[in-house]
């Protein structure tokens, strides 16, 4: 294991009497989804590259309960929340970084009322802050210089929490040509996976939402569709594949783009 993918767990650190500055909340998709594992690893690579003191919960982590709550199962959500809050408070966690907007929204907005009060930062904002502070430096003339990138707003980042600028600022450091889809920011079109739709077949209709969104992304002529959410990642990747465009159009997460171009 190279130094760049060293992943300490909270339990290990606690046993050694240490406490990291940051808890990296990986989330279920970041843990199990093969595609999103790469995003998790990219973020770990950045954290280690900058010598940031962090740890993960590892096997102790558990679903925040977001999909259960959105599907209407408040009991299950609250069971998950209570268990997670017990664990997080036990480790005296203060700051959480996550690459999942759904986990982010739940931890940030919904846990405080249930006794879990933390500073919760989505990785787009976390990366932007590191760049602003000058800690995270991007290579001059990196591999994305001049290439067209379009950013897909995740609903749980954008409309749900008003985060529109941070991911775009991160992308700007790549020196790429940032193009917007027709529906972006406050009017950004959902990928189709929110509200627990990720875990069921869509209701009857005449088109799948991710295809509608991918059509719009392809229309921009961008080579890269940047995302910042595991569900968007799945939906957009499936949509691009469905159009047979996976060679021309890549769906990549902010962390992956930055990890590839860090100086």
């Amino acid at each position: 294991m190279s130094a760049n993918n060293n992943v300490p767990t909270m339990a290990e650190l606690a046993a050694a009497g240490e406490k990291p500055n940051i808890l990296f909340w990986v989330g279920c998709a970041g843990s199990y989804d093969q595609r999103y594992q790469k995003v998790t690893q990219a973020l770990v690579e950045i954290l280690n590259h900058l010598d940031i003191s962090f740890a993960v919960l590892g096997p102790e982590e558990s679903c925040t309960g977001d999909p259960a709550r959105r599907a209407g199962n408040e009991f299950l959500f609250q069971m998950q929340a209570a268990a997670n809050i017990q664990l997080l408070n036990g480790y005296q966690v203060e700051t959480i970084v996550t690459a999942c907007p759904h986990c982010f929204n739940t931890l940030k907005n919904e846990y405080p009322e249930l006794g879990g009060d933390y500073e919760v930062i989505h990785h787009s904002v976390f990366l932007q802050r590191l760049i602003d502070e000058g800690r995270l430096v991007i290579k001059e003339g990196g591999s994305f210089k001049g290439r067209k990138i379009t950013f897909h707003d995740s609903c749980y980042l954008g409309r749900a929490n008003g985060i529109y600028q941070a991911p775009r600022k991160v992308l700007e450091t790549l020196d790429a040509e940032l193009v917007e889809m027709k529906r972006c920011r406050t009017t950004g079109l959902c990928c189709g996976a929110g509200g627990a739709q990720m875990f069921k077949e869509p209701e009857k209709g005449n088109k799948d939402i991710n295809n509608e969104r991918v059509d719009e992304a392809i229309d921009t002529g961008a080579e890269i569709v940047a995302a910042a959410c595991p569900f968007c990642m799945t939906m957009l990747s499936d949509g691009v594949k469905g159009k047979g465009k996976e060679e021309e159009v890549k769906v990549l997460d902010l962390a992956e783009l930055i990890a590839q171009n860090k100086g």
């Binding site: 993960v56 558990s62 999909p67 599907a71 209407g72 929204n105 919904e110 609903c155 749980y156 209701e203």
Partner: protein
């Protein structure tokens, strides 16, 4: 003669005043059918919201052309209604243009201003009618826009045109009567209605007085009747937009409303809280099946909805042909609460099932596009999620995929069927 007219005026005003007051009481009671919920915190923030969103129409301006046309009608409505004060005083006192002698040139200026506003209203209403009926903008022809909502939308626009036409007719004939020295108060020239004078000049003085009085009565009765009609119409937003934006959600739109009754049960189950003799009765129902299970603010939302369909036109589910339409959710809530209000009984029906189907609520991605799109801060998502809570917790009638997801979370602590022990395997991959 004036006395008869004064008495008629009082009777007409009392007639409409009575029915209007009764109707306002009904609507108040209907809104109070909802569960209680405290929305009185942060009055400064709330006032600011109301000022920007309702009074300042901030969210309308996401679509420039309709926003400008709407602004003409809105400002026209606010300003021209200043004239109604004079109408009412004239009606009560049996006077004619009571303010003219006092205000002199300023009166002429005001009336000209009102006429320009009235012309703006007419133009906007004509364009809006064209958008609805000639251009057939799709959001005015969606499935829930059945004959009544379509007629309602057109009637409002037509009534507004008639009211403005009455002002022009009245002012035009008034000016001819002033020229003929028929005892009409001198007002100076009203530029727009003066252009219409040739239409009426052939009439006898007596006929002109008839037309002028008729137009006056049409305008004042029209306004009173309009005020009453509005309470039955989607047009009620002209009043409800204000409280609706004042009481709107101030928290992050992504935050779902907590259910403290569930927190308590979970805490007891997990041994985090001792079971105690409960001070408050247990909730009758988890989630919402009917309008009484919603909060009063959800119901107020329904009365504030003017069926513009911006929510539906941005809804990803609707855009891809699913049955969900956030506007229909709001219309259904209003129809259902009106039904209960009128019949005073449950009649065995309920909001979920008889008005809103599960297929609709299961299609929602909770993306908040509808909430963001609404010019008066209505929150259809809040209602959809309460209905989903009922299906999951009371009926266990969630889609099979969701039931699988629930059991995955229960057994594996992840929504997918992966063993919890494998959660950290990603760290071992290169």
């Amino acid at each position: 003669m004036t006395l008869i007219s004064q008495i008629s005026f009082v009777l007409v005003a009392a007639f409409f005043g009575f029915f209007l007051a009764r109707r306002i009481k009904n609507i108040r009671a209907n809104i109070q059918l909802g569960r209680s919920e405290n929305r009185n915190d942060n009055p400064d923030k709330r006032l600011k919201n109301m000022f920007l969103v309702a009074f300042g129409q901030k969210k309308m301006f996401k679509r420039l052309i309709p926003a400008l046309l709407h602004l003409l009608i809105y400002v026209g409505f606010l300003v021209i209604n200043l004239e109604v004060l004079e109408f009412i005083l004239d009606g009560l006192l049996g006077t004619h243009r009571l303010f003219a002698p006092f205000l002199g040139g300023f009166y002429t200026f005001c009336l000209n201003l009102f006429e320009f506003m009235a012309l703006g209203v007419v133009i906007s209403c004509v364009v809006f009618l064209a958008r609805r009926n000639l251009l057939k903008l799709s959001r005015f022809w969606d499935a829930e826009m059945t004959s009544w909502p379509r007629l309602d939308g057109n009637l409002i626009l037509i009534i507004e045109i008639v009211l403005m036409a009455a002002i022009f007719t009245m002012n035009s004939t008034d000016q001819i009567l002033q020229e003929r020295g028929a005892g009409y108060t001198t007002t100076g020239t009203f530029i727009i209605s003066a252009q219409l004078m040739p239409l009426f000049e052939s009439l006898s003085t007596q006929a002109l007085v008839m037309v002028e009085r008729f137009a006056w009565w049409i305008h004042i009765i029209g306004i009173l009747a309009f005020a009453l009609y509005v309470t039955y119409s989607k047009h009620l937003h002209i009043f409800m937009a204000f409280p609706n934006t004042y009481f709107a959600n101030l928290e992050a739109p992504g935050k779902m409303v907590n259910m403290p009754e569930v927190t308590k049960e979970v805490n007891i189950m997990m041994g985090l809280q001792a079971e105690e003799g409960s001070a408050e009765p247990p909730p009758t129902r988890f989630g919402a099946k009917d309008v009484q299970d919603l909060t009063w603010y959800n119901i107020m939302n329904a009365y504030a909805c003017t069926e513009c369909g911006r929510c539906t036109s941005e809804c990803p589910a609707h855009l891809t042909g699913k049955k969900l339409s956030p506007r229909k959710i709001m219309m259904d809530v209003r129809d259902r609460v009106e039904e209960i209000g009128q019949t005073g009984e449950q009649n065995g029906k309920s909001l979920l099932g008889d008005y809103i189907s599960k297929e609709e609520i299961f299609a929602c991605t909770s993306c908040n596009a509808c909430v963001e799109a609404c010019p008066v801060n209505i929150d259809p998502l809040n209602i959809i999620l309460q209905l989903r809570r009922y299906t999951a917790m009371e009926e266990s009638s969630s889609p099979a995929d969701w039931n699988n997801m629930f059991s995955n979370i229960e057994t594996n602590f992840a929504p997918w069927k992966f063993p919890a022990a494998d959660r950290f395997n990603w760290s071992k991959k290169s």
